[in-house]
Symmetry: C2
Subunit: 361 residues, 2 copies
């Protein structure tokens, strides 16, 4: 587990490297440090239990973009995880069936397959399990049951053929699990390697001086404790608000008229374990400049503010403006490239006379 | 106006060509007939008042896919005119801001630039004028005013640059009219030439025997009176329900739970002219197999039923099953190919701290 090791090495490096970035950065040293903390993004994220194939990924893409996976026929996976906006909807919390306002911010689907668990509270093991949730959630896509989802998809001859192609060894390829497996397979291709990955692979010139200075700050403050590894996050569940309450710290930043949510207890709602109170998944910082607004409740729009809040509530520190400047530069280096083919809308199979009609009232 | 001439020649041809398709079709004769009634789709539809450029079309595509052109940040042009489903939402009538259910079916954006007027009631002259409507409509995208739309877009440096590129000769390129001009320019590239166009251009083998038999029926019944020209429709406004009420004829086909709309008076609402009562634009039949459900109120899901209703209420005839079979084959030939580049989601410019936040409550 190279990634885990890297996380444990964090503190050591935070100390030994503090002297490095005083003036013009020592690129080789920074690169060498970064290589031990982070890892470059792979092209795809394999899952032995759901092996990728071209057909499965293409089918998954169709399902991902298909609003008929919602009861209303109006909401697709892409509605809340819009690939045109880096896999998010840029709303504080997401809208769903009959304009329901959900309780949490939609995390980006980009690089999500790398996360050790899924959802803000880690209640699903992987993207395949995750994909089973929103389709049936009454305030998201609101399909009334697994059989309903399967029947609607099975009513379209175009889809039936694709399931046969995508799951050639299965006697009944079209079932609810495989709907989610196909979507999961598509999501396993949504990694966004770019400059930072070139840097991690050995191109010491891939980042600018400012970005490297930001990297140094990022390491020095210990951010990598939760935001290390390949995705710069997604690996651990941690209490949000170690030193002070996240709730107090973020309320002043709520700048738009949004419903007042009760304080979110996080993973506690899943486990009923007091240790899990206010515990959330540390999100990936890949593409963080584009996945605003921030935190599980989308309460903060400014990445600079969000960073200061993290310093305050997690580390008990007030970050000087100059360090914030440097971090903002580093975040730029985390913007990646979305795979071309994923952005190309598929032409969806036609409904048939047997297709269950949309219900939106 | 070649297209207009073709329409006037329709009746003549309906008579003279009736004998042609008795057995195996005389392909050359049918082609020659079709060439006088229809015209192949152009690659783009020019407008001297809004000349196309690569930058303008690309900008238009970005705006078309951008949900920030709605107050909620959740609804884009593509929500109701989804290019993954042939430029429609496949809903009876469309959903809008706060889940409002609109009164009319979203017509496809594909080939719409060819229509002589826009909207079901012809109340806009062209796609540029049309595009100004839904953004501000309180039950569609619900932007509170032109200035609000302009301010939101102007708050994003990425967009500001694109407007300068797209409208290089204008002192203030970013204004509401140009938002619509850019979207209109994109729409002017959304034509779907395919086999039927190859046929019209001289490839007599481009259609199957069944499709040609359907073409003959289409002409024989006089369908081309309203559905001729390049788009097979979109040219004229006509009373829906000449022989009997469309309302009575379609009610029995409403198969899903949808709100009971009052009987739509059509263009009368625009002109207050009694001659315009129940007058609607005859829609294009290009891609008609995919733009279900049918009619201005989306009341009928089956194309076969819709065709029978048209025969009944417009022509006072009951169409035998064998003629319906043939027409269904002909409609297949009207499925076109959506331009590749249009399907590729653009990466949208990032919001800035000055960008008006989404309002969805």
């Amino acid at each position: 587990m190279k990634r885990t090791t890297a996380l444990f090495l964090t503190l050591t490096f935070a100390v030994t490297s503090a002297a490095v970035a005083a003036q013009s950065p020592d690129r080789e040293a920074l690169m060498s440090m970064a290589q031990r903390i982070f890892a470059p993004l792979p092209e795809v994220v394999d899952n032995p239990d759901n092996p990728l194939s071209e057909a499965k990924v293409e089918l998954g893409k169709m399902l991902y973009y298909d609003p008929r996976l919602s009861q209303s026929g109006f909401i697709s996976c892409n509605s809340c995880h819009n690939l045109a906006t880096y896999g998010v909807d840029n709303l504080p919390t997401s809208l769903g069936h009959r304009w329901a306002v959900g309780p949490r911010n939609s995390p980006t689907v980009l690089n999500a397959a790398l996360h050790r668990t899924q959802f803000w509270d880690g209640r699903a093991a992987d993207v395949e399990e995750q994909a089973q949730g929103p389709i049936l959630n009454p305030i998201e896509m609101a399909i009334p049951g697994e059989a309903y989802a399967v029947d609607r998809i099975a009513s379209m001859p175009g889809y039936v053929k694709w399931f046969e192609r995508a799951f050639p060894d299965e006697e009944k390829p079209l079932n609810y699990r495989n709907i989610a497996n196909a979507i999961g397979a598509f999501e396993r291709t949504l990694t966004t390697p770019d400059r930072f990955d070139e840097f991690l692979k050995g191109d010491a010139q891939a980042l600018s001086d400012d970005e490297l200075a930001g990297l140094q700050v990022f390491v020095d403050y210990g951010c990598v404790g939760c935001h290390g590894g390949t995705a710069l996050g997604g690996d651990i569940l941690a209490r949000f608000g170690v030193v002070e309450s996240y709730w107090e710290a973020t309320r002043e930043f709520i700048t738009i008229d949004q419903p007042t949510m009760p304080m979110d207890v996080g993973r506690f709602a899943v486990t009923q374990d007091a240790n899990d109170l206010y515990v959330f998944k540390a999100p990936s910082l890949r593409n963080i400049t584009r996945t605003y607004p921030y935190f599980h409740d989308g309460s903060v729009w400014s990445l600079r503010d969000a960073t200061q809040i993290m310093a305050r509530v997690q580390l008990g520190r007030e970050m000087p403006e100059e360090d914030l400047d440097k971090l903002m530069a580093f975040y730029q280096a985390l913007e990646g490239t979305i795979p071309e083919y994923a952005l190309k809308l598929p032409i969806l199979p036609a409904s048939s006379k047997h297709t269950e009609r949309p219900v939106f009232q």
